[in-house]
């Protein structure tokens, strides 16, 4: 039978585990199934300040990285679409970070952020500005910028912004390539007729390119939301292992990983994983519902 080998893998490792995870989340034990505890794991999650903090970290991260990646991606795809020479070269260049192993390039950024050896503090020192602790800084970035006027617990920590910056650099190339592909499918006649009608490039961008590219925007928003909410490698590689910058760089995936793998709480880890999965599915569903009203298909 042709299908047998694939089903042999997909059923035990992708379909069966969903039900097993639901079951696990209702049981409590340390490195074993333990005893049936009902919804206690979920109740504990909602009472656990670390759960709320990691959810907050995950949401801050998504709110920083998604708009930044898409705007950068769109801007540079727009510029690339306007030139002919060196377009292929630059497109290849912008896409390189995206295909490279996250861990390998995260190591470079970790050294850039190092308070003693790093380039960021070197540049700040050269410019005569106060040096920063970067990945080790739990204070809110708004607190630092305003010189202490805003409460340090308010907003994302500087350390989280550092991880976000790395991620923006790492993924914006994907957005460039997808936008560029979207732009290349736009019918040339629209541009021609707009030019004849005397539309300037700004008007063409606003009234032709943006509405026609709305399916591409939707696709990228969906993909990047899922990706950023599930982000693990950049957090694991950049978040300081001791204390996770007072928890301000522990996102939900790191929270699940440490609770399940380092502390051995299988039930609690499964419960948080299921909550995250439900959240992602709901968000995707809402985005698609919203898109049905606003996205324009040719």
């Amino acid at each position: 039978m042709f299908l047998f080998p694939s089903l042999l893998i997909l059923f035990p490792f992708f379909i069966f585990p969903i039900f097993y995870a639901l079951q696990l989340s209702l049981w409590g034990g340390k490195r074993n199934m333990g005893t049936f505890v009902g919804l206690k794991n979920y109740i504990f999650a909602f009472q656990n300040p670390m759960f709320w903090q990691s959810l907050q970290v995950t949401l801050y991260y998504a709110m920083i990285t998604i708009p930044a990646t898409l705007l950068l991606g769109f801007t540079f795809a727009y510029f690339l679409a306007k030139i002919i020479r060196a377009r292929t070269f630059l497109r290849i260049l912008f896409f390189v970070p995206y295909v490279t192993s996250t861990v390998a390039v995260a190591m470079v950024w970790r050294i850039f952020y190092n308070p003693q050896l790093g380039l960021f503090n070197y540049i700040l020192k050269t410019l005569g500005l106060p040096v920063q602790q970067w990945l080790l800084e739990p204070r809110g970035v708004l607190n630092i910028i305003t010189g202490g006027a805003i409460d340090p617990h308010y907003g994302p920590s500087l350390a989280l912004v550092c991880i976000s910056l790395f991620d923006i650099w790492h993924t914006f190339g994907f957005a460039v390539v997808v936008f560029l592909a979207g732009m290349s499918t736009l019918p040339q006649e629209y541009y021609e007729s707009a030019k004849i009608d005397g539309a300037n490039p700004w008007k063409i961008l606003l009234h032709i390119e943006l509405p026609l590219l709305s399916p591409t925007w939707l696709f990228l928003i969906t993909v990047q939301s899922i990706r950023s909410l599930q982000s693990f490698s950049s957090f694991y590689a950049l978040s300081p292992a001791s204390g996770r910058t007072l928890g301000t760089t522990e996102n939900l995936m790191l929270h699940i990983y440490s609770q399940f793998y380092e502390y051995g709480y299988w039930g609690y880890g499964s419960a948080v994983a299921i909550l995250l999965s439900i959240f992602i599915m709901l968000l995707t569903y809402i985005q698609w519902q919203w898109a049905r009203r606003y996205v324009f298909y040719q």
Binding site: L10, L24, F79, F95, V105, M107, M253
Partner: protein, 291 residues
């Protein structure tokens, strides 16, 4: 000349407009190249730092070129940490995964595209549904399953769960669907079995899709971190991604050696990408248009 100018003017162009267009082009090129330099800077810094002495690498500087080129860093790294073993593990795991993904998706894709059997639509829907399963939801159950099977810290644990995926099956199914029915019917009349039709006719037909599947499964496997992190326990089964995170703790301030390791880990992905970049862009175009 007069004639050309007047036709251009009729179309709404004029010389001044053209001049400002050239200036704009220049500005766009300038922004693009400056930005391109910033994007590539971490890579340049990574490679050149890997060739610096310890003293030079730990002195922060924007100057990229090493005073003395320390090529021996690239050899020393294999003695300092078991990177030889890590690389062997990574390539062995990624290679095996790629091989089986190709075989399994060819068979399953062909079955979904060409064969008729009981419950085909239900099975196909189930297989496609696995694409929606978030990885974190099945992580813990899969870890427990692997432990129960006694596969913890073995190559089986690293390879087996990744030997089939819905996305590759879908890609090859779509590719098989494009083969005209006549080919298949005439092959059947000639007494050609499904297997020999698949090997002799269908595979050459779907070669671009197959190459894309192979590239993506190799890179996904090579770049994965979370799964190898939880199913391996010691350096005999550790892959490079995990090895590098462990090494970053051991390396301390040896920035040059850490950068050597990072360069070596990043190099295979960059080489594969540069050779096969055509397939990467085709894929993202296809995926991008699906939205």
């Amino acid at each position: 000349m007069f004639f050309i100018n007047s036709t251009l003017e009729k179309k709404g162009y004029n010389i001044h407009y053209d001049l400002s267009r050239y200036v704009w082009k220049g500005v766009i090129y300038f922004i693009l190249f400056v930005f391109g330099f910033f994007v590539s800077f971490p890579f340049l810094w990574m490679v050149t730092s890997s060739l610096k002495t310890l003293e030079e690498a730990t002195t922060p500087s924007l100057w990229l070129f090493p005073k003395q080129w320390q090529w021996e860093n690239w050899i020393y790294i294999f003695k300092f940490a078991p990177f030889g073993k890590y690389f062997f593990n990574s390539f062995f795991v990624a290679g095996t995964v790629t091989f089986f993904v190709c075989i399994n998706s060819l068979l399953a894709g062909y079955a979904f595209a060409r064969l008729r059997f009981f419950g085909k639509n239900v099975i196909f829907a189930l297989v496609m549904a696995t694409m929606m399963v978030p990885f974190e939801a099945v992580l813990i159950p899969n870890f427990i399953l692997i432990s129960r099977l006694g596969w913890y810290n073995t190559y089986f644990a690293l390879i087996f769960p990744w030997c089939a995926n819905a996305f590759s099956i879908l890609m090859l199914r779509q590719a098989f669907m494009t083969i005209p029915n006549d080919y298949y019917e005439s092959a059947q009349i000639d007494g050609c079995s499904h297997i020999s039709f698949l090997i002799h006719l269908a595979i050459p037909f779907v070669k671009p899709a197959l190459i894309t599947v192979a590239l993506f499964s190799f890179l996904n496997s090579y770049n994965s971190l979370l799964w190898p992190l939880i199913v391996t326990a010691d350096e005999t089964k550790r892959v490079v991604q995990v090895g590098l995170t462990v090494f970053s703790g051991d390396a301390g301030v040896r920035v040059n050696l850490l950068m050597t390791a990072s360069t070596l880990v990043a190099l295979p992905t960059i080489i594969i990408y540069l050779i096969a970049q055509r397939y990467f862009f085709q894929e993202s175009i296809r995926v991008g248009l699906k939205g």
